[in-house]
Every structure is written in structure tokens, then in C-alpha cells.
Subunit: 312 residues, 2 copies
């Protein structure tokens, strides 16, 4: 059983939507109805040795913990409201580090517009257990009320991605994954400009391959990507862009007519058209595929299984 | 540095309240303003070896993880709305256990009125690291809008506690801390009946000693408890009631006149008057003290330091 599967089980069991739950588990955030509106909520954790290397500066650990949650808010085109932190600390973490961590969490939370309003702290019983931060973020929908989901890609949409991908973790573990800018402003401007012409959107956190496949499966469509259109960070291969993850860019779809009016950059971020959406069928089952080196490859596992031979 | 101190640091640094934050860190839950109202939010974790013994049934681990968060909602007299779970699982946890855990979390969350709407799952990199669940709970204030805080105890209030205290963990670690009933209904009925005559309220999670001291310090008052009035679980000593924790009963204050009308039970839960509140002064500094065996004892540390000799 792999990361995400518990989440998948929760999503599956929530097929019957509890009262008040407008978007259940399975998207970047859940949406819960409250009198006169709704809130968005999600949680995400960072664990030493998995999401950051052991000697990462406390300052950057705190930034990443908050920023990756803010990126989930961006994926829904939401507005960050507040956050909480449940921390589990190594038993031998010096008090100065605890103070630095607290200050950094507060500063970054406030900078990202979601002040730290609560939390819980535990210490591991034994030394050597990893530092762990679980952040919950609360957000409001875009002012128009539109919440952009991952399951709204439709036949004929164009598929776009912001920024450039690949190599985020870096050879020393101290790469862009610690310093990325969540695309909150871009997401807001996309809704401002395109409204309902904006289809599905997702935060590229686990690699373009897995994340576009999630979008395709959630939407019940086939997403076809042209490999040589994927925007790459300098020195990165297409393979890295598809697999590395931790980019925290946005992948989204636009109805075909709207896509023709897409500017080259929005909110200061370059945008690239990388493929299209078509209805799922026996020939093109739901899922994402990429055309690379003369063949189509299933993107979900990016284990380079050869997918069906289809045209984009 | 002890458990709760990171929380204290966050609270201290939030003296300047960020926009929209109505109750900052430091209470059982934070309150955040949204258009037309507010939401309450808190998070709390359970860690194997600390909050439950290693062989605790999965079913009861899940129940405790949810119930202790629901108890925080009760402390604010709130209405549970939704919850999220960030889980970190031992690398060798069998898939059947993951499924059982997911099902139990969902069932208990729904039973307590706060459906599980999201989460995040990670696996520990090495076997032997503890199972850990961090639950965030979202709630609405009481229908009247009243949110009961811990910092509103006033000179002249009577101090009450629900149920009975002590021995929750049990000799085998499988005691009441796994099965307690969060006092959501009691809290609601207290606000229904007493409105603004209800002063401060807190969830007794870390022992009556520490928790009443927190209420006293947050309110800037002296709380004086008569030791022999503390309701004890069968077989428990007053010392256990003061120190054991994990009772998840409610301690609260009522203005003196209202206290005269307190029934012996509400919502099926026995209520006991155990002491009173007086203004803090040089003679009675802010804090909670208990009269036991002919002397007054400071309750905050319950290290049995002798507090100032004062009258209740």
C-alpha cells in the first residue's frame, strides 16, 4: 500500500457525501458548507528524511510546510485564511531550534495570508525519530464563489501548466522544493479572466505524470500530452519533469475557445499549452498519456509501460 | 521545554491578533471570522507509546483520536462540523490494519457529527517508528453565537466540573481514555440554560490541576478548589484526579447567582461544585490552588509546592 492510498480509501468510502460536504476527500482540498457560504480545508505533512533532508535549515522546513498547503489553496483558486500546525519534535531538539521553528512558521503563515491560529506539540519518546510537521490550512473560495476542482476536465479542453518542471529536490536536497512560490495569484487571475471556461486544476506535487493522470481519472477523460511541449527547468530532462514532483506549479484545462486567448504569462508566471483532453473511450480509456520518443506512455505510474497507441 | 510550550510561544507571539482571528492560539480552539459568522478550528494528535499503548485495538485508537478533538469542541460549546486526519504509519503496518483504521476513523467521525473530509498519509521510512494520527476539527459556534472561552472566569464565580476524574489511562493502558464521551451536549445545554452567566470553560485533558491553573492564569484570577469536593472515579485518589489527565470532562465557572440554580445533573452528566473564583491580588496571585490535608497547594505544576497560605 502506497502513499495516498489511505486517502483513496477515504475518498471511496465517501461516495455517499455526508451532509454539508460539498467537495469530499480526493481533491486538493475539501469544501464544507457553512451558513451563507463555504470553507475549504486540507492538511499536508512534511517529515524529516522524506520531505526534507536532515540538515535542512529550520527556516526552510517551516516555509515548505506552509507553502505546500498554500499551493493546495491555489489549486482550488481559493484565498488562504488561517492555518494550524501539529508538530512532533525529536526529543533532543534544542530549545533554540523550537523557538526558531515557531517564529518561522508564524512569519511564513502570515506572509502567505493564513496566520497560524493553533496547534499541538508532542515530543518523540526516543531520540532519532524524525521531525514532523502536519499543517492544516483553511481557505475561502474565490470571491466569485467558483471553486476549481480536479474532476472538471472535458472533451476538447486544452491542457496547460505554469512555470517549469523537474529537479525541484536538487542533488543536495536543498533545491526549489524549499523555496517555490505557491501560485495563488495566478489561480485567482485565471478565474477572474476565464470564469467557467476554466475546467479542472491541480497542484503538481507528485510529478506531472501522476498528477495529470489523477486529473484525467477524476474527470473520466483521456488527457494526451506532447512530451516536447513540457516546460523544463534548466538542466532537467522530460523524464524528471514527469517524475520528480515537488514543483508546486498548476496544471489546468481551458475550454478550447478560451485557450486561444491564453497569454504567454499571467501573474508573472509563464504558461505553456502541453496537450489536450478527449472523451474517454475503449480506444482512449480515462487516464493521462504522454507522447515521447515516437510512442505513447501511460503517465499514472510513469513506469514506462506502453499505453495504447493513440493520437493526441 | 515541555509539551505545550510551542503552543505557548505561538500564543505569546500572537498578542498582536492577525486580521480575522477572533480567538488566537491558547484556548481549546481558535475562532476565525468569515463572511457572516465564524468557524472554530483546532488540532490534536495521538502517538503510539504516548497517548495509547502499542497493542491498543485500531478501533479504539481511531475513536480516541477523533473524540479528544470533539472534546475541544465541547469546551467552546461548539458544534462539530468536519475533521481531517494526517496519519503517519509504521512501515510494516499491514494493509488490513490501514483499512480498519480508515473505516474506524470515518465511522467515529460521522458518529460525532464531524465527517472526515480530508487527510494526508505518510509511511515512516523505518520500521518501529510509532503510529501517529493528527486530527484537525472544524466546528461552528453554539447557535446563539456564544463561544465559551477559558479566559472569562471572574471574581465571585463558582467552579464546577462534570462527571468524575482520575485513573482514565488504567493500569493496562486500556482505560476510559479510549472510550470517554465528549461533553458536547452538556456544553450546549449549559449555554442554552445559562447564557452569559456561564463564565469560562475548559476541557480537562491534562489533569484538573494543570487545566484549572490554565483557566485561572488565562482569566487573571485566583481559583480556589476544595480537594474533598472533587468527584472521583471509584478507586481513585484526589491526587489521581488532579494529575492523571485524559478525563475529557468539562470544568467551568458560573456567576454566583446562576450557580445556585445548577441542577445535580445536566445532559445525563453529574455536576459538582468544587470551588470558587476570586480576584487576583498580592495575597491571591493568579493561578489555581487546592486545599488538601489542611494546606493549600499550587495546582499548576501539581509538584506539591506549597502555595501561599490563603483562604478559599
Amino acid at each position: 500500500m502506497r502513499e495516498g492510498d489511505l486517502h483513496a480509501l477515504i475518498a471511496a468510502a465517501n461516495a455517499r457525501l455526508p451532509k454539508g460536504v460539498m467537495i469530499p476527500p480526493g481533491d486538493d482540498m475539501a469544501q464544507v458548507a457553512i451558513a451563507g457560504g463555504s470553507v475549504l480545508i486540507a492538511c499536508d505533512q512534511v517529515i524529516e528524511g522524506r520531505h526534507f533532508v536532515p540538515n535542512t535549515p529550520i527556516e526552510l522546513i517551516a516555509r515548505k510546510a506552509i507553502a505546500r498547503n498554500v499551493s493546495d489553496v491555489a489549486a482550488m483558486a481559493g484565498r488562504p485564511l488561517a492555518c494550524l500546525c501539529a508538530a512532533t519534535l525529536p526529543s533532543d531538539l534544542p530549545e533554540s531550534a523550537v523557538r526558531a521553528l515557531t517564529a518561522a512558521l508564524q512569519r511564513h503563515a502570515e506572509d502567505f495570508g493564513c496566520p497560524l491560529v493553533g496547534g499541538d506539540t508532542s515530543w518523540h519518546g526516543e531520540p532519532g525519530h524524525p521531525l514532523q510537521l502536519s499543517i492544516t490550512i483553511l481557505a475561502l473560495p474565490h470571491a466569485s464563489g467558483r471553486v476549481v476542482r480536479r474532476d472538471q476536465a472535458k472533451d476538447g479542453d486544452a491542457v496547460m501548466v505554469s512555470g517549469a518542471l523537474g529537479g525541484s529536490f536538487g542533488a543536495d536536497g536543498l533545491g526549489r522544493h524549499l523555496r517555490f512560490e505557491p501560485r495563488v495569484r495566478l489561480a485567482r487571475e485565471l478565474v477572474d479572466r476565464f470564469g467557467d471556461e476554466l475546467g479542472a486544476m491541480i497542484d503538481v506535487s507528485d510529478g506531472l505524470g501522476r498528477d495529470l493522470d489523477r486529473m484525467a481519472c477524476a474527470s473520466g477523460v483521456a488527457i494526451h500530452i506532447e512530451g516536447d511541449r513540457i516546460p523544463l527547468h534548466e538542466g532537467c530532462s522530460i523524464d524528471q519533469a514527469l517524475r520528480d514532483g515537488e514543483d508546486h506549479e498548476l496544471a489546468f484545462t481551458l475550454r478550447a475557445d478560451a485557450a486561444k486567448g491564453l497569454p504567454a504569462t499571467m501573474a508573472g508566471v509563464p504558461l505553456s499549452v502541453i496537450g489536450g483532453v478527449r472523451a474517454a473511450s475503449d480506444v482512449h480509456p480515462a487516464g493521462a498519456r504522454v507522447f515521447l520518443a515516437g510512442a505513447w506512455h501511460a503517465m499514472g505510474s510513469m513506469g514506462w509501460e506502453h499505453g495504447p497507441s493513440v493520437g493526441a
